[in-house]
Symmetry: C2
Subunit: 356 residues, 2 copies
């Protein structure tokens, strides 16, 4: 049973892991700073412009008009605070997903780190394939055993606390190959402003990502101001053990749930239990969640697609992504659904926060 579930998951996971072979390209780096506003409400409400790094244009106008509409007391489109649910994809929507999704970078860095301390680890042919960049071998076979093997080695068999410590240590040292920044310093500044703006207007902001929930929860509160209980991602079932040292939860890959494509509305229902009124994504992996949020929603709703059009400041891709983030169907459907498409090149004054 477990094996069968793992294999299904592997097939899905492969889509998310596409593009490992992408070559790294280097260009100017940006120094960034992310933080959580304790007093977001005041900050934003007193700000002349809550979205200062958004250029004036249709995209900015659309989101501001939607927020004004649903938050106007007595207006016909007013939505009570409890129902102001906004869902955000993470990779490619709130931070980059190139040259590979950051969680994939973690997997390879973690294997490299451990291989130096556990020489026997490299005897594992799949670990060796990962260390030597033999991606073809990792994807061999119907069940992509290599992929599942290195995922299991880095995401299962340890306690949730051990996993957290490992991710924290990686975040504190690993740097993005192109921007030469700590990965958690690369959250998009315009999206940070949007998150704070929506929260200041009574929205509850959730992440709904194909990435691992345990991975994102380590830093999402510090970086985005989104607490762990509002981070929905791919998950597997942990195992409770009461040890001498106290209770622990051991990570496994059993009952793996991949929170991508049709899995996103499924995850939204399971974790939130009501339909969002605003949805922000950047790829066909977000299509079902955009549909679930905006089609025949009894409440006014809003959909936005972040289109990566800026190869100079970030990356430019859609139908042929460098890694994850394939965008064809959602872009095609956007006009008929009334979804707002953001051009990073035209709509954003800056991509990353500027030096303070």
């Amino acid at each position: 049973m477990k094996h069968a579930i793992r294999c299904n998951a592997a097939v899905l996971a492969v889509g998310w892991l596409l593009g490992w072979l992408t070559a790294f390209d280097l260009s100017e780096a940006y120094s960034t700073q992310s933080f959580v506003c304790a007093d977001e409400l005041e900050k934003v409400n007193t700000a002349a412009d809550p979205l200062p790094t958004w250029n004036e244009g249709k995209a900015k106008q659309a989101v501001v008009e939607f927020v004004a509409k649903v938050t106007t007391q007595g207006g016909k489109d007013f939505v009570p605070v409890d129902e102001r649910i906004a869902v955000f994809d993470n990779d490619g929507t709130l931070w980059p997903e190139n040259p590979v999704p950051f969680q994939v970078a973690y997997v390879f860095d973690e294997l490299k780190r451990r291989a130096t301390k556990e020489p026997k680890l490299a005897d594992d042919p799949m670990v060796n394939a990962a260390l030597t960049g033999d991606f073809a071998k990792l994807l061999e076979g119907d069940h992509h055993d290599g992929l599942m093997r290195i995922t299991a080695l880095t995401h299962a068999g340890m306690t949730t606390d051990e996993f957290r410590s490992s991710v924290e240590a990686w975040l504190a040292s690993a740097r993005h190959p192109r921007f030469n920044q700590l990965y958690d310093q690369l959250a998009y500044q315009p999206m940070q402003e949007l998150l704070r703006y929506l929260r200041a207007k009574g929205f509850k902001t959730f992440i709904v990502s194909g990435g691992g929930a345990d991975f994102m929860r380590v830093w999402a509160e510090r970086v985005y101001g989104i607490p762990p209980e509002q981070v929905i991602g791919s998950t597997a079932r942990t195992k409770f053990e009461l040890r001498e040292t106290g209770p622990v939860l051991v990570k496994t890959l059993d009952y793996l749930f991949v929170d991508d494509k049709e899995g996103k509305p499924v995850g939204i229902h399971q974790f939130i239990g009501r339909r969002p009124i605003a949805c922000f994504g950047n790829s066909d992996g977000d299509l079902a969640m955009l549909q679930y949020t905006t089609i025949n929603n009894p409440r006014p709703s809003f959909g936005m697609i972040i289109h990566h059009t800026d190869d100079e400041r970030e990356y430019a891709y859609d139908a042929k992504p460098k890694s994850s983030g394939k965008l064809i169907e959602a872009l095609k459907e956007a006009p008929q659904r009334g979804w707002t498409v953001v051009s990073m090149q035209d709509d954003w004054k800056t991509i990353f926060p500027s030096k303070k």
Copy 2:
């Protein structure tokens, strides 16, 4: 695979469904009223006593002292608001679980209702067993096929909206056999005060119950002031469909997760992602969650067990429950763990809200 999962779940579920054979006993009824305070903070902070229906005593003193300790700025035991997570079992902790858990009452009432409109339904031997009270037949076989059959008939194959409507219609008409009240009018008044008190002190209150999340989310916000995204319960995976009429999620019993016993800390990690500092339960089904909250927690923590000791005003049971709610191990472990045991008879002035 699905079958295997269903069977595991059935075995676990049986524990929760024990006691169907309990005879209904009738006695004086209480008129109750439940509501959500929009201005809980002010109401509670200005109240002379935030827990007016709790008798003065060790139990009340223990919870008030804990809350004071973790909310005192600058104190050594201060806990930041973000980490003030309180988890509550539902059946037997926030409302009664006799003569049967209210969700079980829903299953039987729903089958009766549908049988009148769908005569063929009674041709199903398991439905017939349910309608005729042949519980032995429902529990026959290693896989308790009867139990799973009627659960599937009432909890799967419909959209999440259809299920919600069905539960709402039941809640609006069905009455508790002993108290002659609508079921959602039977929330314990002292626990309602406790929920509001904790929220007023910056706690985020969650339900962590073996009951179905979809069932509880229909009424938890209205009755307890707990929004759907803070209701953790037993769940199965829904299926996303984009129909002519719009997107729907179809309920299934696939990947069933039973949020009971060791499943409770597992559910807490999956949905909340951090350890609670306060836990409230009433049975051995809450033992693992009490352990996870209080043993070697780096933060100050609090555990409370509601002991049903009042046969006159509610029910009296522990080792031999009338239905669910077996309490042996947790009660035995309480002294050594420092968990507070509440005697409903001695510690609560009233059980249910009084007439307004």
